[in-house]
């Protein structure tokens, strides 16, 4: 059974959240808690790297939306990087590709180029 591993990196004042595995209903609390911790620490410029995330459902998407709103309230941003094909289709189906800025790489997300 696939679980969710979360690692955090910092680059140029930006917090990079790397998701690896499955953000399913038994794991989504881990993602929600991590994003809430970052908000409490006033880390409001966040890049979520989805390149190793193979599953997410509406509960996980809800956690990302909540964090996105928190970042914006603090004049920050939360953007997404390199979703796998199935997750990219999910973002398109929900039209959340219109809400989140989605980049091909962390480097591009940091510079804000080539969305």
């Amino acid at each position: 059974m696939s679980s969710l591993a979360i690692t955090i990196d910092k680059r140029l004042g930006t917090t990079i959240v790397n998701l690896d595995g499955s953000a399913d209903m038994s794991e989504v609390h881990t993602l929600r808690n991590q994003l809430e911790t970052l908000s409490t620490e006033h880390q409001n410029n966040i890049i979520v790297d989805l390149s190793r995330l193979n599953f997410i459902s509406s509960m996980g998407l809800g956690s990302l939306i909540q964090a996105h709103r928190q970042c914006r309230q603090e004049q920050g941003t939360l953007c997404l990087v390199n979703p796998q094909e199935a997750v990219a289709r999910l973002l398109k189906t929900t039209q959340l590709d219109q809400l989140f800025s989605i980049y091909h790489s962390v480097d591009e997300a940091i510079t804000g180029e080539n969305k």
Binding site: M1, D24, M25, S26, F55, S57, S58, M59, L61, G62, S63, I65, Q66, H68, R69, A86, L90, T93, T94, Q95, L96, Q98, L99
Partner: protein
Amino acid sequence: MPSDTYQEIEISSSFSQARQAEQTIVTAAENHGYVESDLFALQLSLEEALSNAIRHGNRQDSQKIINIRYHVSQERIDIYVADEGTGFDPTNVPDPTADENLENPHGRGIMLMRAYMNLVEYNQEGNVVHIVKLNPKSTKSSCKNHE
């Protein structure tokens, strides 16, 4: 009601138990030759049906159960998820893709099931959902009720 060709799983209102049931059904589909995109659709829709049953139907009351009946064949997958809640009107759910709802962290479950499955239907009370996934590789697939 489903015939005795259906398998049955009963769980409490627990996300970890729901996840195990979900994996059992996804594995059965994998063993019947469904491809990766179908398995993603199945897992997603099961996750939405089960999390709705836990959170909205049973209101996370661990004393309440969720009954899952499923049948997997090479042609189609039928799943019934029943909770102990009072039900709801599935036609009265806001469109989560509307501009004014896009930032709402909730309310995408039914839309996703409809997007990824071939059939999503509720009983009159709204506390049992029946979802169907046809195998696009099968020539015998049909959405006609399989009972």
